[in-house]
């Protein structure tokens, strides 16, 4: 073997072989990592709207809960929206099994009546389900509106999207 070839082999082992060994180590160790539970997708909401108070703010909220909940997930960061809601999703967060998403001031509510969605995920049974409520801040007469939601199966992605 010429000295050029020898140098090439040594360089190849150092620059390609060793990193590949490192990659194998990373893949092995990474298996032990845990990521946040998956809650991405569309959730069919079941809420008892009949029990809601009849003021405008509560009506808006119950109309939101009459539609599906759409969650886009990036780790613990969530973008939460309702299919009947505005186009801009609300930022939320996932902490363990707990979801929290401030929905801003819904139409019909006053500016200081901040609406918040809180829910807890039950990841043990498929399809996953959520139980939680939507509450309105600074509204003594508004009881939190409870809801339950079940995750809808995802459409299988085809050749494109």
């Amino acid at each position: 073997m010429s000295s050029t070839n020898r140098r090439f082999v040594v360089a190849y082992i150092l620059l390609v072989g060793l990193p590949l060994a490192g990659l194998a180590g990373v893949l092995k160790n990474g298996r032990h990592l845990t990521a946040p539970i998956s809650i991405d997708g569309t959730w069919k909401v079941e809420a008892n709207a009949a029990s809601a108070p009849s003021d405008a703010c509560a009506k808006t909220i119950s109309s939101l809960l009459a539609s599906n909940l759409v969650i886009s997930q990036s780790g613990k960061t969530l973008a939460v929206n309702f299919t009947s809601g505005t186009k801009t999703p609300f930022a939320g967060s996932l902490n363990g099994r707990e979801i929290s998403a401030p929905l801003g001031a819904a139409s019909g509510c006053t500016d200081d009546q901040e609406v918040t969605l809180t829910a807890s995920v039950n990841p043990d049974i498929e399809p996953k389900s959520l139980t939680g409520n939507v509450s309105v801040a600074t509204c003594a007469s508004c009881a939190p509106m409870a809801f339950r939601a079940v995750r809808q199966p995802k459409a299988q992605s085809g050749g494109g999207h």
Binding site: V16, P19, T77, G160
Partner: protein, 432 residues
């Protein structure tokens, strides 16, 4: 049924915005395709949706995106065929040890660094529906890709295609792309098989049989196209249609096997005859409509899925910075080191590293697949798109700084090379 008014309006707006932005970017010395990539982002929620949400909702209603996507995917299928067509495995052999080492390091260095980064990002930006192995391998494949067509375009614009640096860069980029796509195929199979009733081994076996049949069987038949071209100096419309049919059939077959449409198109291009004039002839026939109309639709569709607002807060921006840093260190740093160790002067080696760091359109194609199969989250998708834009945008100015034109002229070689491949410049269909 698509709303034809909205669809036509979308085509017109995308075309106009891409052309204007492309032209503006050319004014500042960037390849037009970089401008088109930015135009796509500008048409999405990151800019248009942010400053004029009502106009954005009118122009790109959710119900219309399926049609826009379908059209753009047709463009990407043809584009991947053209990329495969432009790749010539013999190029690498000509360049010897330097190219072999550089190309392999330019894959392994960013790949391994990306896998290390995945250890940090997986618990933060992914979820438990994605296995770490799939996540890490995807990050590696996405970071190790080089935009072969954009690279060819930059080299051509700088009259570097026949320089030593240019030829090594083209050869390395070809190897990177083929390797990157093979790894991506494996990841897609891995993820899809988890949701499929078919065994993964059945899928892998099918892919191997299909690949062998294409390389050892279909490839020979394809020589007939070249023979006709050599005899008549042209290929009839019927034969061009047959070629397109073969591309579509190959795409459908890989989709059926459980990988992706695009792999079939790429493979069909890769096994086509590589005689320079024939390659140029086929590229000229297919390029114009693909590059002028269909690829801008893909940029727009990618832009509509990219939301820079999803990268919110200092923590998210830190992740984004880290991704750009790791991608650049791995690709630019790794390629530079390998080329330098192979005997290339340091400045030239750094120039090669800079060229290899160009990710461009190929990166966007891969990222869209990753988002489709759910291996990356929307925020990570947006960060990776920004990384693709950043690394592609930096190529020209950094290259000018490291390797002035006069320096490169000294390294010019006389050998005739295959003309540059996919043309991502003007829609005039001229040679790239």
């Amino acid at each position: 049924m698509p709303n034809l008014f909205i669809l036509t309006l979308q085509l017109a707006v995308v075309l106009a915005v891409c052309r204007v932005t492309g032209w503006l970017f050319q004014r500042i010395g960037q390849p037009k395709v970089v401008g088109e990539m930015f135009a796509g982002i500008a048409l999405g929620p990151s800019l248009l949706g942010w400053i004029a949400p009502h106009a954005s909702a009118y122009l790109f209603p959710a119900s219309s995106l399926g049609f826009l996507n379908a059209l753009s995917q047709v463009g990407v299928v043809v584009f991947m065929f053209l990329v495969g067509l432009g790749i010539n495995p013999r190029e690498l052999k000509k360049e010897g040890h330097a190219a072999v080492l550089t190309s392999h390091v330019s894959i392994t260095a960013p790949f391994v660094l990306a896998a290390f980064l995945a250890l940090y990002l997986y618990p933060r930006l992914s979820d438990d529906s994605v296995h770490f192995t799939s996540f890490a391998l995807f990050m590696g494949a996405a970071m190790s890709i080089t935009a072969f067509p954009v690279l060819a375009r930059i080299l051509d614009e700088r009259d570097m295609l026949r320089s030593r640096l240019g030829t090594v860069a083209i050869a390395c980029a070809a190897v990177d792309d083929v390797t990157g796509w093979c790894i991506l195929a494996y990841i897609v199979v891995l993820i899809r098989s988890a949701h499929s009733t078919h065994s993964i081994w059945l899928t892998i076996g099918g892919i191997i049989v299909f690949g062998l049949a294409m390389i050892h069987g279909v490839r020979r038949l394809l020589r007939g196209f070249e023979r006709v071209y050599r005899t008549k100096g042209a290929i009839s419309e019927n034969l061009m249609a047959l070629m397109l049919l073969l591309v579509l059939a190959s795409s459908l077959f890989t989709e059926y096997l459980g990988i992706h449409l695009l792999f079939g198109a790429f493979l069909m291009g890769a096994i086509m005859p590589k005689e320079a004039k024939f390659v140029r002839y086929v590229l000229d026939r297919f390029e114009t409509i693909t590059v002028t109309l269909l690829l801008p639709l893909f940029f727009a569709f990618t832009g509509l899925r990219t939301n820079i607002a999803a990268v919110k807060g200092p923590e998210m921006w830190m992740y984004c910075g880290l991704i750009i840093l790791v991608a650049t260190m791995g690709k630019l740093g790794g390629s530079t080191l390998a080329a330098w160790l192979s005997g290339m002067p340091l400045r030239e080696a750094a120039g090669l590293g800079t060229l290899m760091n160009t990710r461009g359109l190929m990166e966007l194609v891969i990222l869209n697949i990753g988002l489709d199969i759910g291996v990356i989250s929307p925020a990570l998708f947006s960060m990776m798109v920004m990384m693709a834009l950043f690394t592609t945008f930096m190529t020209t100015p950094v290259l000018s700084l490291i390797c002035p034109k006069e320096m490169l002229q000294a390294g010019k070689v006389e050998a005739e090379r295959v003309p540059p491949t996919v043309n991502l410049r003007e829609g005039e269909g001229a040679a790239a």
